[in-house]
């Protein structure tokens, strides 16, 4: 068996199916999407080659850039929220009472389907019957905000459930990473007189830096291509006030029947994600390998 596994040909053979699937389902479509972006195509009928027209239209499209701005805002807020998650995880990973239960509570939103979360929050935000506005009215605010109808508020109103939705995921990752730190390190620090703050700040967090970097990439890239709650809760509205890049792409393709342009957006979105990922890796690169 070992012999077989060390044979390069056998290794090739075993990786081929996965490679094939990856090529067929991910890479070929990516190339095709880029290619369709060069076409004037309504999704059916014949395609007409128009070169880079779709891409130059994209550069000049204020609606696209406003949706891109919204996506970047979401990325910023998701990244900032990581600080909070990290804090919670450090506390949970310390030996506090009920940590186990709390961890489960934080995880619950992650178990809900996006559609359920969207429905739930639409009820919460309902302008007249929602819990939130009822609460506000009961404390004397007569004209509580219309969360999903007010173009100045809608984006932030949707950010809250999005960030809430993924809390459990990041807390779980941080929690697992923190639990991986050998107890002996923490103990020896404590013997040397380090406070809880010192232990968290100078020992635990530096030790899980690699994990933190990964979560930053996940949060940023995940935000840039975010789609579900926005699609369900507002469909990008009112008038594009909550549009993000992915929902804009969807709208162009399936409501505007402009698959050529939508493909260009999709391809551009991929490029943005790649560049941003590369940038984050670059900025956060460190030489030393962390070893326990």
């Amino acid at each position: 068996m070992d012999k077989a596994m060390s044979n390069p040909k056998v290794i090739m053979l075993y990786t081929l199916p996965a490679l094939f699937l990856l090529l067929a389902l991910i890479y070929v479509p990516i190339v095709q999407t880029g290619y369709y972006g060069l076409m004037k195509w309504n999704g059916m009928g014949s395609k007409e080659f128009i070169g880079l027209v779709n891409y130059s239209r994209l550069i000049e499209d204020p609606l696209f850039w406003s949706s891109a701005y919204h996506s970047f805002l979401l990325a910023l807020f998701s990244t900032l929220s990581l600080v909070g998650y990290l804090l919670i995880s450090v506390i949970l990973a310390g030996k506090i009472k009920g940590a186990n239960t709390l961890r489960k509570i934080y995880l619950i939103p992650m178990l809900l389907a996006s559609v359920a979360i969207a429905q739930l929050w639409m009820k919460i935000y309902h302008p007249t019957n929602g819990i939130l506005n009822n609460l506000l009215m009961s404390i004397g605010i007569e004209e509580p905000p219309m969360w999903l109808a007010n173009p100045d508020l809608v984006l932030f109103a949707i950010f809250i459930p999005i960030i809430w939705q993924y809390a459990g995921f990041y807390i779980l990752i941080y929690y697992a990473a923190l639990k991986n730190i050998p107890e002996s390190l923490v103990e020896s620090a404590r013997i040397d007189g380090a406070t809880a703050w010192d232990i968290a700040w100078k020992i635990k967090i530096p030790l899980i830096m690699n994990v933190i970097k990964v979560t930053i990439v996940l949060a940023v890239v995940g935000s840039l291509k975010y789609f579900d709650l926005i699609y369900i809760m507002t469909n990008g509205g009112p008038n594009g006030a909550s549009e993000v890049m992915a929902s804009y792409m969807y709208g162009q393709a399936f409501r505007g029947f402009d698959f050529g342009y939508a493909s260009a957006i999709g391809f551009f979105l991929l490029v943005i994600c790649l560049v941003i990922t590369w940038l984050i890796r670059k900025v956060t690169a460190t030489k030393e390998e962390i070893q326990y």
């Binding site: 999704g43 789609f227 579900d228 008038n239 992915a246 029947f257």
Partner: protein, 435 residues
């Protein structure tokens, strides 16, 4: 990696659809034509047994009857819910894999399919005696370049439904003029009742209000001509209609937060008795007549009136916004085209006989009100239809998809007061002249 899976599934869904669409370029038409007389017609529709029980039942019955009358022909159905149906049809058509028979919408929606030569002209079916049974103006909405590509199943107009109980409570009467209507709005608003239920997240809901104002102020042709480019969207009547919308918004005529509510959410304000009026297509009629899930008391208290005339306007009371709803198409590349056309004809005929009595759908074919047993409200609507002076097709259906998107977004901004009436018409004109 849950997050990754999530977002991939979501953003990827659309992207994947784009690409899977392109993956298969086969030109095979569906259907197992040939082979010892056995034929299969693939039929895709959007009435799942759960959410459209009545429709589904009638459809099943019609299919069964057709199969009985045509031995050797089997109908294979695929059922999807509305939005999914729309998406799937798009994907299937880009890979040239449409079902033999399916459901489509009129005018602007139809255009790309016809340009792509995906739908078969159905004039031969129509001229085979079927044409006379349709209400005038319905099949026309499915005609492009003088050929008809779909046979409509439904016909809807949009009246304003009102809650008689609320009207009575505040001593209100059905308005004859727009000024009276504004008075009603004012009275209701002062008494803390939301005058009009509206869910404008869906945008076409607000478009109905705008269309009526445009019609009553500028006459039945002005909007249609602006869209088909015989006229201009910068017609003063269209700007004035936009202004009136904002006057209504300022008067708090619509329920709070309407721009963030879906049509269903808006509707529930009316169904709960929180709002006094609601403008919607006649597909809502079952909720006010036969639907057992709605309390009898509520159903009995609902009436409807026509959008009142605006003083000095050119429109008249009997002009309606509405149009045929869904229709049936036959795929151009079908291998069983003849059988498919037979089926479509059979379907339209049987549907017309049963739809209104069993599902409460007003069919696009003529209904003999004498011979069928119908709730009062239906008879009234059918009579109104018979007396109508004009039927303006829903604006977003008249327009092609790109312009429709612009129109719908502008409607939302207009109601949200993020755009001035001048910019509203200007941006429409720009979008329309670009096409």
């Amino acid at each position: 990696m849950k997050k990754k899976a999530h977002t991939l599934a979501a953003a990827g869904l659309a992207a994947l659809m784009l690409v899977t669409a392109g993956c298969s370029t086969s030109n095979e038409a569906s259907g197992d034509g040939g082979g010892d007389g056995e034929k299969t017609i693939k039929f895709m529709h959007l009435w799942p047994s759960g959410s459209s029980k009545q429709h589904n039942m009638i459809t099943e019955d019609i299919i069964e009857e057709f199969e009985k009358e045509n031995p050797g022909v089997t109908i294979e159905t695929e059922v999807l819910e509305n939005e999914q149906y729309k998406n799937k049809i798009k994907v299937l058509s880009s890979s040239n894999d449409l079902p033999d028979v399916g459901v489509t919408w009129a005018a602007g929606y139809l255009e790309p399919f016809v340009e792509g030569e995906l739908f078969a002209p159905l004039d031969d079916v129509l001229n085979d005696g079927l044409k006379d049974s349709f209400v005038a103006g319905t099949t026309e909405a499915y005609a492009i370049n003088e050929e008809t590509y779909g046979l409509p199943l439904e016909l809807n107009i949009a009246p304003i439904y009102y809650n008689k109980a609320i009207f009575e409570e505040y001593g209100l009467e059905v308005p004859e003029t727009y000024e009276e209507f504004q008075e009603i709005v004012k009275t209701l608003e002062e008494n803390g009742v939301a005058p009009i239920a509206l869910g404008n997240k869906d945008r076409w809901t607000g478009s109905l209000w705008y269309m009526y104002l445009a019609d009553r102020i500028g006459g039945p042709e002005v909007l249609t001509q602006a869209i088909n480019r015989e006229g201009t969207f910068e017609d003063p009547a269209l700007a004035q209609a936009a202004e009136e919308i904002q006057t209504l918004v300022d008067a708090n005529a619509f329920n709070r937060g309407f721009n963030g509510l879906s049509n269903d959410e808006g509707k529930s304000e009316f169904m709960n008795g929180n709002a006094a009026m609601y403008m919607m297509g006649t597909w809502e009629l079952p909720n006010y007549t036969t639907n057992e899930d709605v309390p009898q008391e509520f159903r009995d208290s609902i009436g409807f009136f026509k959008f009142p005339e605006v003083e000095g306007g050119k429109g008249d009371l009997n002009s309606w916004v509405g149009g045929p709803g869904v229709g049936l198409f036959v795929s151009e590349n079908s291998e069983v085209k003849e059988e498919a056309k037979e089926f479509v004809k059979f379907f339209v005929e049987s549907w017309g006989e049963r739809a209104v009595t069993e599902a409460g759908v007003i069919p696009a074919t003529k209904v003999d009100t004498e011979s069928v047993e119908l709730p009062e409200l239906y008879i009234d609507v059918l009579d109104e239809l018979a007396n109508s002076s004009n039927l303006t097709l829903f604006a977003d259906v008249q327009m092609n998809a790109t312009v429709a998107e612009t129109h719908l977004n502008l409607i939302q901004s207009l109601f949200g007061k993020e755009v001035t009436p001048e910019d509203f018409t200007k941006q429409h004109e720009e979008a329309l002249s670009r096409e």
